[in-house]
């Protein structure tokens, strides 16, 4: 499976970030495993420690298995002064997990992130590719319910 993804790209180092994006996006648990790193290392002919270095540098990548839906709540100043901490508290109690944790049913992973560039609607979070803004505690409940029903 990893070889197949690799072969879509030319075997040059500048494609590393693309390959990692695709591996992570297509993995049901949204992460990049050790086997994946080995496969990419072999394909691009670059050491796996370099790949691991890149992997852990960028916030969008994960080396641990994650849930089906990844919640990324912005904690930067514009969202912070609009109460993102309250939203985080709400998410933690609703989901029963701490930052970086995945719910037992494997449906959600809760993460914090830096500015998402949607500050006009602070506080903001993304669930996978969808942006949710102007969050309130009630809205969080609604959104989670909607995503749960979607499964």
């Amino acid at each position: 499976m990893y070889k197949e993804i690799c072969s879509k790209y030319a075997p040059t180092k500048d494609n590393l970030i693309y390959i990692l994006h695709e591996i992570q996006d297509t993995h049901p648990q949204h992460y990049i495993s050790e086997e994946a790193v080995e496969a990419v290392s072999e394909y691009l002919k670059i050491p796996s420690n370099h790949i691991y270095g890149v992997l852990t540098f960028y916030t969008m990548y994960s080396t641990k298995p994650r849930g089906k839906n990844i919640i990324r709540l912005c904690e930067s100043p514009p969202c912070y002064i609009k109460g993102s901490d309250n939203i985080m508290r709400k998410l933690r109690t609703e989901l029963g997990v701490e930052e970086g944790g995945t719910t037992k049913d494997g449906l959600f992973t809760l993460e914090l992130c830096a500015c998402l560039g949607v500050c006009g609607n602070a506080p903001v979070m993304m669930i996978n590719d969808d942006v949710y803004g102007d969050l309130t505690e009630e809205k969080v409940e609604e959104i989670l319910e909607k995503v749960r029903r979607r499964k």
Partner: protein, 520 residues
């Protein structure tokens, strides 16, 4: 040509999509057809209209009425009252300050002149609005050095934060002999509170492409990369579409306009790292490495991407270029101040009546921006401070409200214009609290390459957390300033040199708050 009674512009942005604008459009079209108005009312999908927190927004011409926060349930009333009987629905109209109409809040538009007016997915509409004329002029009537000199004469300064003159940057690279040169566009917008580049790309992607093309011609590059953050899905989609269209029209590709000039533009998707806004870190990331900044010199203009000469410019900087080439440096210099020409796109957030963005002359005061373009403070709130320039910015108190917002004037107060983000705080908000949030951000975003920044950002966060919790002393406050000062002098890149600005301005302007909280 077909004539319509009304043109309805529907803003398609990330937030509008989330609010269900697609279903809304379908329902609106159905309702118009039902009322037999489909031939009279034209619906146009366009980029973001420029107001936020307002869900689905539309603008109706020729009346120039803005509706906001629309729901599908509002459609029958809207169609029946406004489109059929010509009576605008007052309860749905977006209330704005006097300055906002009739052009809403883009008073002086260069970069955003087409945004929210043309369909960003149609190259024909861009060309119809005068687009790609500058590119044709640059390619067929001007020599590369003419372009560089024109941009130099315009006084255009980089809009990414540092404000380095763009024409000067180009002039380092243009005369170099190299088998390959590159243009790299920094679209990795990550400064907290900044989303101007997203709006420019969502609203008018072709304008950015045209700016890139002119830059490529000026420096002799045959390949350009747009390094864009992975979260900007709609921008990525629209840019890809725009590149495809430009290729189909022969505006991009090989032997453009029979000039013998070849150019290819491609996207590179980032993976989330604030430090990649630093140009050498961005280049490292493009090459498939960790985004650690490089030693300068050599500067990227001499040795950049894969060691070839590379010009790295911000999205907003390049989006200004077509106007300069088409209308000349003198026309451009009419905007702004003599030292800082042109306009700036600001994003105004926080406790103002109308958060959003505006493009206005460089040198406009903070007071004017807040009072006239953002509609003043939100009802019931008093101004306390504004964080200008994002996390790498400064906290300005009300006594500095009349400082002109441009690179040169702000420098006098050890302040920076940065990316143009303005975060307004009310009298109830704690400066210590906001500083804590800023330092938390830096702790997370330090790349770890150099010790002053790697360790310094951690220590700063520890100290501010201690102060915030009420366990700190004034010695801690002083230590914080000392550490940040050391970081300014010893850090490898601008990231580690930035925390001092917020810290110093917070302590200088709001010392009482630090004294108060450390007394406990």
């Amino acid at each position: 040509m077909k004539f319509y009674r009304n043109h309805v512009l529907v803003g398609i942005s990330e937030m509008a999509l989330n609010a269900g604008v697609e279903d809304f459009l379908k329902a609106l079209r159905q309702e118009l057809a039902k009322a037999d108005l489909a031939e009279e009312i034209n619906i146009l999908e366009t980029g973001p209209l420029g107001f936020f927190g307002k869900g689905i927004c539309i603008t109706v011409y020729p009346e120039n009425i803005n509706y906001s926060d629309l729901k599908i349930e509002d459609i029958p009333e809207l169609v029946n009252e406004h489109f059929l009987k010509g009576r605008p629905v007052a309860r749905l109209i977006l209330e704005t300050g006097a300055k906002f109409s009739p052009k809403f809040n883009y008073e002086t538009r260069i970069v955003l002149r087409n945004s929210g007016i043309i369909d960003p997915e149609s190259i024909d509409e861009y060309i119809g609005a005068g687009g790609y004329e500058a590119w044709e002029k640059a390619l067929t009537q001007m020599q590369p050095m003419d372009i560089v000199n024109e941009v130099k004469a315009s006084g255009l300064r980089g809009r990414g934060g540092a404000g380095f003159p763009a024409g000067v940057k180009w002039s380092f690279t243009a005369p170099l002999e190299a088998e390959q040169k590159y243009v790299v566009v920094n679209a990795d917008e990550g400064e907290p509170g900044t989303f101007k580049d997203r709006l420019i790309m969502e609203g008018d992607p072709h304008q950015l492409l045209e700016g890139i093309m002119i830059c490529a011609r000026a420096i002799g590059a045959s390949k350009a990369w747009i390094y864009i953050r992975g979260e900007y899905k709609l921008c990525i989609e629209r840019l890809r579409h725009a590149i495809k269209q430009a290729k189909e029209y022969g505006i991009l590709g090989e032997n453009i306009f029979d000039s013998g000039f070849d150019l290819d533009i491609d996207l590179k998707i980032g993976a989330g790292a604030y430090v990649c806004g630093e140009e050498t870190a961005l280049i490292e990331s493009l090459e498939g490495n960790r985004g650690n900044p490089r030693w300068k010199p050599p500067f990227p203009g001499v040795k950049g991407l894969w060691q070839y000469p590379t010009v790295v410019n911000n999205v907003e900087t390049l989006a200004n270029v077509p106007y300069i080439i088409k209308n000349g440096a003198d026309a451009y210099k009419k905007f702004g101040t003599p030292e800082c020409t042109g306009t700036k796109v600001y994003t105004i957030l926080g406790d103002v009546a109308h958060p959003g963005l505006c493009e206005i002359d460089m040198g406009t005061t903070l007071r004017t921006i807040i009072n006239e373009y953002a509609g003043g403070m939100k009802k019931g709130f008093k101004f306390k401070a504004a964080l200008v320039g994002g996390a790498a910015g400064v906290i300005l108190p009300d006594r500095l409200l009349d400082v002109k917002m441009d690179f040169a004037s702000l420098n006098q107060y050890a302040a920076v214009l940065g990316s143009g983000a303005i975060l307004v705080m009310n009298e109830h908000q704690s400066i210590v609290d906001i500083l804590w949030s800023i330092l938390r951000f830096f702790r997370h975003e330090s790349c770890g390459k150099c010790a002053p920044c790697r360790n310094g950002t951690q220590q700063l966060y520890k100290l501010i957390t201690k102060i915030k919790s009420g366990n700190g002393t004034m010695d801690d406050v002083e230590l914080m300033q000392n550490i940040a000062e050391t970081m300014l002098n010893t850090s490898f890149c601008a990231l580690g040199q930035s925390p001092i600005m917020a810290i110093r301005s917070a302590i200088e302007n709001f010392k009482d708050e630090f004294i108060e909280i450390t007394k406990k």
